[in-house]
Symmetry: D4
Subunit: 230 residues, 8 copies
């Protein structure tokens, strides 16, 4: 009888391809997408980065994995709501630090908003939370508007019909990255409805990232600080 | 050689099935859906209704058909923008006349809004136009709000991401029928995007009719006046 | 080792945005959508509303959450079939109380129908059940027709091909809100089939709410009683 | 300069593959699907069949092609409404002649119903028309029911939400083949809505053919007469 | 504390609507769709039918429900593979008994094929199994062809690309009901691929029922025996 | 006979809602979406803006409309390839002028890229063309890379599988807005394939606008220059 | 008045990016996809290739463009059925010449099959036509089988349910590239049905190219001759 | 009480249809698709093959089934990562042994790549792993390119936007079979996005197999070695 597992020697090679130059090429270290990976896989990549003196951010880390990672890296932090594990922090130049308003329409959009927020902090920016300001109660949206305008960019997280980015995008001139969430019931189609709504927004110049992709929105903001002249 | 067309005697029988009792059963005469029908077909049905002393409304009548119908029925009217032909008018009791705010988000939503408006007038109600009040310029929406609130029901026509029904539905307590339109470009999917957005509206109690179905929205309002005690 | 959970001080702020003015603006208190929320979150919002002397209705509450909520609010009631938790009751003026026929095509449509029914009662209306009257046995439908007609509005819940709203909508002139359900097997597409069928109904003036959205249908009826002059 | 068209010698070979044995194998001659073919192509195949003493039926023949074919085959007939061209007729044994009720919900379903009807006649059966009996006016449906029941099988053609097959299938025990049509507007999705509705019918034992496929429904009935013992 | 369950008195009424006349109207007793129902619900309906001297067939009964039902009705039988529970048997007249070839392409199509087979037996017909004859090994298909042709009708169950109905439908003239199954992986889309393939079959006169709907196919065959003159 | 067209007096009112304050609110004048509008409609809005001393940009203007508009506004320009009509130009502060690399994968992506480019110039920015650099010939992509990197932001237009944004986004750290185009054949689904590919890009922080929406991408870049501190 | 067309100087630069090295890199010259390009654009690219002593193949050339191209390049040939224009021919080494059986299920699949065939000839291979061998008449398929097996690879073009590749792929061991076509009516979904069917084929090791992509299938075969050792 | 399971005598017959001649017809033994089958079913088929002196390969075998199979067939091997169980090995002639580069874009694509790899080894070929070479870090792709080119054919496994096959297909002339994987989040649609991207690849002559179908890709390569002259 022979359950032939993949020999140990195979794993390291296949896993060696950590992109250590990304920091210089793209202005940030390689980020680990935690969803499809086992804890040992994540740990191997994290160690590579860390020993190359690069900070580590792992997305889509569930509570269980989070506990194992914090045990393995006592200096790291697990952000339960954002489902992110971090070890160290990226040091951007101060002149490039972005003030970002992270807006969320409803309670169920929080985890995605938090993913954006923790990523922004990791990349050296300064995000502020504006949660529960969906258009079903526009007065709440308006009450926060002056404060929101005081930032340099907006991330707007919304599910259901995703009207919030259109409303905000029609009121402020800032860069606005919209994140559709897979929240709702009935014909929300796992976020496709919110997503299509954002793409068809009547407010000009809104851009969209993938469903539930708070990390992507944060990174898009990070690019803003890199492409522009310091 | 024999091009055997369907004999004349066949047509009348098949076409005899005009629902003359609908007026009594549903509180309005049978409406003719003009899109799939030839002008002779429409004329045959219209004559049946008219000779039974029932007013006639034909939807989806293009300019060409409209001209032919007005020639055939000199007392009728062709509403070019709404693509509707009417002959006579339904007389509802005054106590049941509804005051309806017909709201349209953008220029391209007008034809659908007009279809709703002309149908409402035909059925004896009193609609008012509130056009070009989409959320890309919320100040325009708010300026009209007091006047809109002064009606008994709202029809809200919108394409693209269709945020207008959510915004209005969160501000006024009236019955609100949303009509998605097939307006936009890119991933608007012939109105499906607007339509899904309306269904997933965060404002409670909004109902939706089919894409571009201005007539259906008007008739839904007509039902309001019938079901309730006079 | 540091599992950094979101500090307590963060939660209250984000959760403070209960829309207490909605009662005056929309004629009903804010409703809590229970699906995406934890029991502590629901309890926090419920307390806010209750201490502001507003009744509480929570939708999509599973049996487990229901038990915890009834333990926390001994004066509340858990409606297991409708998956709704209520605390107190909204007092509408008598003149505005709607008589509503809640119709369901088949056994599997009951939970959605019950969600509509309990919501209607909470909002002060008087619903009656007409269940298991699907078109596969039209004699059952017809037997109940006179009684159904005796109401002011209809909510029609149906899955599969959703023919019931078309049949009823062609027989009675009342306002009719159709609710598609995600019931069936094979190509029912989680309710999209029923939903598309209702939208394309040949009966004029039928409106539709989202899949399985019994609450939305009830609230649409509630709007009827608000928009009209008392 | 050399516009190299495909040499004549290529065409005959490729076109020689007329299935002359189909008559014996499947109990009917090969039918020509006219939509994707040029008139010369159709004529070539028709001549093959005709010279093999087999009758010819061509579906999806538009008016223009129809005229050219009747000119080429003076003994043939063009059925303009059904968009079918026939030359001769299949002679089934009398004992196998089926009495078929061809039902159509609305005016726009006629062309598809006629395609079924003309095909049935060509194959030696006896169809009867029951048109304009859609469920929006159920009294019309019921008035024809006794007569419909007097047949051996039903073909039910319907677009929009396609409730008619469910209603009829719940009232009569006959074999029932439903044909969805691409009629409607808004979210009818070129007939997919009708089609999905029929598949999810609550009436047991209904079968479905492709959208607008009147020919297929007729042929399915033809199979009934063949498979059974004579 | 008050968990208000629906009072007992509510259930019986709602559940009383068993369609006892269906036997006379449609030539078979009401069939119970077991998927969305609890065991007590199924038992209540089954008792109604049984006490009215009608046989009982319940579809989509999982192993657990099956055990509970056989305990409750010791004279009943649970067909584990077909996921069907039966109690008694429908007695069709001998002259109407259909000989049916139930064909299945691959191993994973068996449960659906068995659902058809057990339903056919319950309704008084005589089905034969022809399993594992998919087109990947056409010699297997051909070996069974003579025997298959010896029946009066075919039910063909297939998943994946569903080529089997096209192949059989091009070789035999019998009535052929195709049942797509949700078998496969990758882009099989829960059976939609098989289903669309069957609808677009190049073999004429094939009809289709819903995905995995073995019961529906069997009932369609049952209709054949009823509509035709005895 | 009475073809009742909408009276002239109706049009101006409905058309008066030009958003003249948008310039101050959003940092750019209202843009006219030309696709759904007639030339007189466009002219009316353009005159409003122009007389309020605001420059005019009309998108989706076909050749015919373009000719009529240039005749009406002799000082305007029609950009045939970009399908844009402009009258005057927006004057951004120099410090905010963005250097933008407009990249297009293949020949068929040019019109969309040109729409972005002309919009950028109208809004006061400095775009450069990098066309025909799709990944089928990566050497072409690489040859232009140093020059591309020398800009502040990238707009990447691509159809088919849309690999170009992923490749560029993995090589440069700049803000990158991807525009899917409806180019290709077969299963490109009117641009949905390109669009989904961009959303799922493995390069971090890429954002997407609607299919063929060159204008939207340009405006998103414009927002970059506004939100940031001057 | 100023209709500013794109200055001539812009076009050449943008169009200069013909990939002349592709011949050496990929073993074949760059192919021109003619669908989205104007005749002058095609001519410019063709001249570049031709003057670099590379043969030219343009796909998706309609009759009108074909005439203009043959006028411009008198030594070229327009293949009307395949909608291809060629100028010269690629000379592969004899040892690499592939014998390819190009199979087509039905008449409407010919244009796509011809696109594959003409491309194969242009690339130096030897294709043979096997047309009209669809599974609706399996005897025709079998009659040609020995001859088909005598080739080195198969291209199988089919629309509708696309059963032909499964049948052939289960009978012969050769490399088989399947091409779905957008032929059929009803729910064929512009070829998606055929395409999904091919992907889910029960015959092992079949590969698929895009809908109607005869060129792609031919090129895939060309790759076979290149990758293997000569 | 009678739980009537399918009698033993039924199973063997239905299971007897193992295709033992496939080896001679298709150049490889029948492969067992393990997903829909129970362990006893798999064992029965495996024994048939093994006793006919044919090697056995079972795909989609989860860890649990794998353990049971290795216990039953001590000479077999379970490849946990590829989810494959093998017993013996197919012996291809040496002249036909293919050198295959199995490329995978990211970590999550490994299981599918391993399925291809183990299948290739079983069929007698020589695959090499090139993992983690996705386009987000093109330098990694390029570093491996010379080595990749040294093979006879490529299998390219990728999820997300699936740009890797386009990049590789534009750089090397080899036969390239692309395998989309169901990896990613948000709008990756269970692999459909990757899959559509591959089909629309701008690199010519790439072919695609079903989502996650590593086995199919390997078998397609096997066909290459069979169809060509030895």
């Amino acid at each position: 009888m022979a359950i032939r597992r993949h020999p140990r020697s195979f794993l390291p090679k296949a896993f060696a391809e950590v992109d250590l130059q990304r920091r210089h090429r793209l202005g940030a270290p390689e980020i680990i997408f935690g969803a499809g990976k086992t804890v040992p896989q994540i740990m191997a990549i994290a160690r590579k980065l860390w020993s190359a003196k690069q900070p580590v951010l792992v997305t889509r880390v569930d509570a269980n994995k989070g506990q194992l990672l914090t045990r393995a890296f006592p200096r790291g932090s697990y952000h339960s709501r954002a489902r992110i594990f971090t070890l160290g922090k990226f040091r951007a130049k101060d002149s490039r630090q972005m003030l970002v308003a992270v807006c969320a329409a409803g309670t169920s959009d929080y985890p995605v908003a938090e993913e954006a927020l923790v990523t922004l902090e990791f990349l050296g920016h300064r995000p502020t939370r504006f949660y529960d300001i969906g258009v079903a109660g526009l007065h709440r949206t308006f009450r926060r508007l002056p404060e929101i305008s005081n930032h340099q960019a907006l991330i707007v997280v919304a599910g259901m019909e995703a009207a919030l980015p259109s409303v905000l995008g029609g009121l402020v001139p800032h860069p606005l990255v919209a994140v559709p969430t897979s929240v709702g019931y009935g014909a929300h189609l796992q976020g496709l409805t919110a997503f299509l709504g954002m793409l068809n927004s009547c407010a000009p110049g809104i851009t969209v990232v993938n469903i539930d992709n708070g990390f992507g929105a944060a990174y898009a903001i990070h690019r803003l600080s890199l492409g522009l002249p310091s």
